[in-house]
Amino acid sequence: MIAYTLLAGLLFGLYFSLVAVGLNLVFGVMRLINLAHGDFLMLGAFLAYGLYTAAGVNPVYAIPAEIVAFVLAGIALYYAVVPRLLSSRDPEMLSFILLFGLSQIIEALAVIAFGNDQRAIPATVFGARPVTVFGQTFPAAWVVSGVVSAAAILAVYLYLYRSRLGYATRAVMASRDEAASTGINVHRVSAIALGVGLALAAVAGAFSPFMLGSIEPDMGIRITTVSFAVIVIGSLGNPLGTVLGGLVYGLGLMLMETYFPSWADMLPYVLLILILLIRPSGLLGQRVRLA
Amino acid sequence: MSPSALLVVERLSKHFGAFQALDGLSLKLASGEILGLVGPNGSGKTTAINVISGVYTADAGTIHFDGQPVGGLPIHRRAHLGINRTFQVPKPFKGLTVSENLEIAAVYSGAGRDEIGKCLEFLELAPLAGREAASLNSAQQKRLDLARALIARPRLLLVDELAAGLNPAELQRMAQTLMTIASSGVALLVVEHLLSFLRELTSRVVVMDAGREIFEGPLDVAARDPQVIDIFLGG
């Protein structure tokens, strides 16, 4: 029982790292909390669902389409609003409210386009046979989601630490002004980071039917809050710290669902409050407190 | 002068992580006196002001104000007792008008309408009284910052880099303003990079390096002190 719980926690932990890592990347680069993060994940889920129902596309093969569509959407969104916001008097609060408005728009458009019904992609898309890992048996969809998540996070690592663009991105994370003064095109780097952040959410969305339950237009705000909890537990502004947050959250969730199932829904919120109050720097770094 | 000193700071220490910002700093200051605090960047001048005013709590050491220990008091309690300050980058209440900026402090100090009016006149802010603070230029915001501190009726005023960014005429008037404030009995602790500005105010300075006092005495003597020359040129 405990081995099963821990392994399932690991798979879900990897998946929640993927769910949240884009939010953390965007926060790290732009110091803004993308309140529409969960809504982009929802759109990614609907894209995967659409490709599956229209052409029987396996969610794994939907990943390239997700990446192209959402990187472009992120870049467009950046140039449409962010430079204007950054020059205002209170960019942090205003961008927070603006992104909340955007989240409302996306949710409304999703209801208008897809209706309020709950959608699902059958888990048998990955084959009907369960998969055995270290002697424990799991639905194939969980294992595929865990592997895709691990691969996506490895890709984030390569992007940030093994590419010229990633070097510039980390420079912007460290200091926007200093990066600009060394000749880095801060807007281009940030726009791409926003695109990558949304694409990561969308890829997570493609696997949400198996890991988070059915796809609904109003799932966004809940996912944004859970993602925020995950990145706060790990470390705000440090994308790879998200993995630690995801694993802590995934394991915690599985333990709660095994031993205290009726209280499991509270977990992300309780963790979020406790971490913000007791160790606001997360398990790895960064100050957020005023006084 | 120790029994009559208004401010007595003894062996103050403060570190941030591995960085020792203050390392056993001691100071004394009497009413009406102006003391300059100079030193290279990172020598602990602003930290000293932050600790004396209550923005930070010291790791060790004591602060006595008018014979009373104040090191553990929150900022507003120190402000009520008569410790106040200006900021290197002025921090006015940007969305409020100039006169509202002063009215807030007046509530707690008991300053009346005419005192606010006089203070606005004194700092050449009277024509701007109804303007939003955000619309002021940086020299005006510095004067507003000073006015906000004065309306709190301080007995000790900590002045952090007031001269930076002022033009020569403004510098001249600011020096006059600070002299007037001191002559009314307020003790001034002035952190300043611009030594020519400081020279007009006072002859007594404390030179700091690495969180410690390395020299105390007249500014002109400091300029010939080998240790002082060394840290300013070598550091």
Partner: protein, 311 residues
């Protein structure tokens, strides 16, 4: 200081409040949809509660609905378990909301968006506790509350009129008092406010508790008025969101801003929102985005631009 305008007997903004309250006393006699009037008053009161906190101190409470819901449950359980008369039960609801606010006061140490999200998380925690099936014997868990025996449409309407008047009273007081000015100073620059002599922790906690008390009263009165409700409906995030956006739209830290914002947007909601909520949500989202980009200080700033004083 002439905070209290001379010659009219009431402080600035007082007459507008009296007018709006009087309107809601008279309207039921000429307009049949009392539930709409009731909800309108409720959102007017909640918007002013948001205004007390967000407008004056700058803390954006996404989880404001947590106080509304705990007021609803506090009042209902006082009726069901303690058999108190509804009016006393409303006060119990307000006290519960204030106690919750005291418990959550450490959240005020968080800044900006962190506070907003943490307060949202706190209201979710309260919701999950109240609706947990294990607490069925106390809260009825997810099955909701029925106050059928205490139901009284007219008395609960009258109670909401009083809550509305209280909410206006608090904002008029803040608009005209040292406390209100001190709170705005905290919003603008907390450290300078301390040096001006303001006890920042005490004053912002005071605003937080006042704001929670208003939501608790509104929640309890709502529970009495509908008399049957589920935990989901009194902890609905949309209640926070509506009140926040109504306030932002009209203009924060004024008395009239939230009134105008609520009348226009809640009016719009009733026009298109009830039959087609998604189209309302779309308009609502667009309004928020446009506000931030073009009018971050709400409609009131339009008037200020032409030098009209907004009470």
């Amino acid at each position: 200081m002439d905070y209290w305008a001379k010659g009219c007997g009431l402080p600035r903004g007082g007459w507008y409040s009296v007018g709006v309250v009087a309107l809601f006393i008279v309207l039921p006699f000429v307009y049949g949809n009392h539930d709409l009037l009731f909800n309108m008053m409720m959102y007017l009161a909640l918007a002013q509660g948001i205004n007390v906190l967000f407008g004056f101190t700058g803390y954006l409470p996404f989880g404001y609905v947590g106080f509304f819901g705990s007021g609803a449950y506090g009042a209902s359980l006082a009726v069901l378990l303690l058999h108190l008369p509804p009016v006393l039960a409303l006060l119990v609801g307000a006290v519960i909301a204030v106690l919750l606010a005291l418990l959550l006061a450490p959240l005020l140490r968080l800044s900006g968006a962190y506070f907003a999200i943490a307060s949202l998380a706190a209201s979710e925690v309260v919701y999950y506790i109240v609706s947990n099936p294990h607490l069925e014997s106390l809260t009825q868990g997810p099955y909701g509350i029925s106050l059928a025996r205490a139901y009284d449409a007219d008395a609960s309407y009258a109670a909401m009129v009083v809550v509305l008047a209280l909410a206006f009273g608090v904002v008029v007081y803040l608009r005209n008092s040292h406390l209100g000015l001190a709170l705005q100073a905290i919003r603008e620059e907390p450290v300078s406010a301390e040096f001006a002599g303001v006890n920042v922790v005490r004053e912002r906690t005071c605003a937080w508790l006042l704001s929670a008390a208003l939501a608790g009263l509104a929640g309890g009165t709502y529970a009495w008025h509908v008399s049957v409700f589920y935990p989901k409906s009194v902890f609905d995030l949309n209640i926070s969101v509506f009140a926040i956006v109504f306030t932002l739209f009209g203009g924060v830290a004024t008395l009239l801003g939230p009134i105008v914002g609520t009348l226009l947007l809640y009016g719009l909601y009733n026009w298109i929102g009830i039959s087609q909520p998604e189209y309302f949500q779309l308009v609502f989202g667009i309004v928020i985005v446009m506000l931030v980009l073009f009018l971050p200080n709400g409609l009131a700033s339009l008037l200020r631009r032409v030098n009209v004083h907004v009470p």
